[in-house]
């Protein structure tokens, strides 16, 4: 099978003039997604995920580099790409509040020239799948956020695209809505021959459990790209720890201890939880001596199976928030 997406040396700047440096949203990105893949972009806010998606969806031009989607150049052949793609973003409020769920979906299906009877059939089918059938005739402005987001996802799939972009599709959703959406995405890729999904997320679990391959992106750069299993193998088995401590001033200095590759510190309440990825086991002794010197107390320490979060901590040096 061919490549659904190919980016070569893709760079995108925003703003900037003689006085001000431009924001570099994407910095020399090279990325290939094959047809039939469920591919994830994992990165913190401002990493450049949405910018990349917009370029792929023909809504934004690259500053430099070449980008092809479904074999066509995004700059020259946007019209050939558009009928075959769609995009859904988390927290989207698109559509018209005065129209019903069904009417909104019908309207968007018509923009893609889906024949009337087929559109009606697909709408019913998808509304059923996403448990929205009882809301079909409700005006969009009266439905809940979770229902609205499920409607948006339906909008994306109603046109039967070959490639769909999902920008944080489960952002801020309740557990059951999220699950419905994830289950559907998985099934859609497995059942359709060559259907491709590119989704962005900053939920580790989502990337880990859903994606065939994940690219870790931070500050516009792709830091690693592989299957979740292979990425985790890159973190040595004996190097990920979870510590529970009594909070103390200067807790963030742990990150500066020699041999510590990265930390993610959650110091909300009466105890702090610190996730540490080290180069090897010996560094942990220095961490513990730092903690006692600063007046902190180690409540518990566990050696952890590496997760995608540890991959991220190791690559970026900090946790994903």
């Amino acid at each position: 099978m061919g490549n659904a997406i190919e980016c070569r040396n893709l760079t995108r700047h925003f703003g900037g003039n003689r006085k001000k440096e431009p924001t570099v949203a994407l910095d020399d990105v090279n990325l290939t997604v094959e047809e039939g893949e469920l591919f994830g972009l994992l990165g913190p806010n401002g990493a450049g995920k949405t910018t990349l998606l917009k370029i792929l969806a023909t809504l934004l031009l690259p500053t430099s580099g070449s980008v092809s989607v479904l074999g066509y150049d995004v700059q020259k052949d946007a019209q050939k790409i558009r009928p075959r793609i769609n995009m859904v973003s988390g927290g989207e409020v698109s559509g018209y509040g005065l129209l019903t769920v069904r009417e909104n979906l019908w309207m968007f299906s018509q923009f893609y020239g889906v024949p009337g009877s087929e559109a009606r059939e697909r709408i019913d089918e998808l509304l059923e799948t996403f448990s929205l059938l009882d809301k079909a005739e409700a005006k969009v402005r009266t439905i809940s956020t979770g229902q609205r987001q499920r409607m948006n996802v339906v909008r994306g799939f109603i046109t039967d695209p070959d490639l769909i972009f999902l920008d944080e599709p489960t952002l801020g959703l309740d557990v059951s809505s999220s699950r419905t959406i994830r289950d559907y995405i998985r099934k859609w890729v497995r059942d359709g021959s060559g259907k491709t999904v590119l989704l962005t997320t900053h939920y580790m679990m989502e990337a880990e459990e859903l994606c065939d391959r994940v690219a870790v992106i931070d500050r516009g750069r792709i830091l690693a790209c592989d299957s979740p299993q292979n990425l985790k193998r890159g973190v040595r088995k004996d190097s990920a720890f979870t510590l529970e401590l009594t909070p103390f001033a200067g807790i963030e200095e742990i990150a500066a201890v020699e041999g510590v590759r990265g930390t993610s510190i959650d110091s909300g309440g009466s105890k702090a939880t610190v996730r540490i990825v080290t180069e090897d086991e010996s560094a942990i002794a220095d961490v513990i001596s730092l903690i006692s010197r600063k007046g902190g107390k180690v409540l518990s320490m566990t050696k952890a199976e590496p997760t995608l979060e540890d991959v991220f901590i190791q690559l970026v040096g900090r946790g994903l928030v």
Partner: protein, 260 residues
């Protein structure tokens, strides 16, 4: 195109209270002008002018506020990027918006006209229905073409354009002769005002409805030709503005919402 006209029409039907205000308020304005004209002893036919002008105001306001600001607004809710990502023709999106607006505004305009005629006992004779229909349709095409062109420019120059709109609303009421014959302003002002399609459209319709007394600005045939030229100009202009908006927007990242 039908897809895009749809929310407008349905929306209008769903919120009938709009209809009440949009018919009632123009009538108040009309009444004020008619009373004023009666007080200064203006010819009877002025009442007809005012009613017709008042009805056409609906289209003007629709173009100025709703149509021209449409893309801007669609961008704010995130619809614009969905439209631009879709494979349909961009002109069809605009035309759909225009048709939807036109349809719904017609309901208001005709209710205003009808009520105005009844309440103020306006007499008019339709001497040439074909010309009247032609003038009306050309006026609407040119007017909405202008709206289509503005909608792209608004999107790019958002806030400034908004101020411009408010700035122009009142003066244009005046110079376009909504409530009196445009010729009263003198030839040059009237000519300049003719760039707004509604000016000549109104003038031509008055000539066709009220005959000699209407103090027309230019001969009807000339006005029809100019309207036709305006219609073509604005539609082509809309196309250019749209392409320009899309290109500039894609280059500078202004088409889409930042926080997504």
């Amino acid at each position: 195109m039908v897809g895009r006209a749809y929310p407008r029409v349905i929306g209008g039907v769903r919120e009938p209270s709009w209809l009440f205000f949009d018919t009632f308020l123009p009538l108040l304005g009309i009444a004020a002008f008619i009373l004023y004209y009666q007080a200064i002893g203006a010819p009877e036919v002025f009442a007809g002018f005012v009613v017709l002008g008042g009805a056409m105001t609906a289209y003007w306001l629709n173009v100025l506020w709703s149509m021209a600001a449409q893309f801007y607004w669609e961008k704010e809710v995130g619809n614009l990027q969905l439209y631009l990502m879709a494979p349909m023709s961009r002109m069809a999106v605009l035309a759909g918006m225009a048709l939807g607006g036109m349809f719904f505004t017609s309901v208001r305009a005709f209710s205003t006209l009808l009520l105005g005629i009844i309440i103020f006992q306006v007499e008019m004779v339709v001497t040439s229905p074909v010309s009247l229909a032609l003038v009306f349709v050309l006026t609407l095409i040119a007017l909405y073409g202008m709206g289509m062109m503005f909608s792209s420019l608004y999107l790019l120059y958002g806030r400034e354009a908004w101020h411009l709109s408010s700035l122009f609303q009142e003066p244009i009421y005046l110079v376009s002769g909504f409530y009196f014959p445009v010729r009263a302003l003198g030839f040059w002002v009237a000519l300049a005002a003719s760039i707004i399609p509604i000016t000549l459209g109104l003038d031509a319709m008055r000539q066709l409805l009220f005959g000699q007394e209407s103090m027309g600005f230019l001969p009807i045939d000339t006005e029809i030709l100019i309207l036709l030229a305006l219609a073509i100009f604005f539609i082509i202009g809309a196309r250019f503005a749209l392409n320009f908006m899309e290109y500039l927007g894609k280059r500078e990242g202004r088409l889409t919402l930042r926080w997504q």
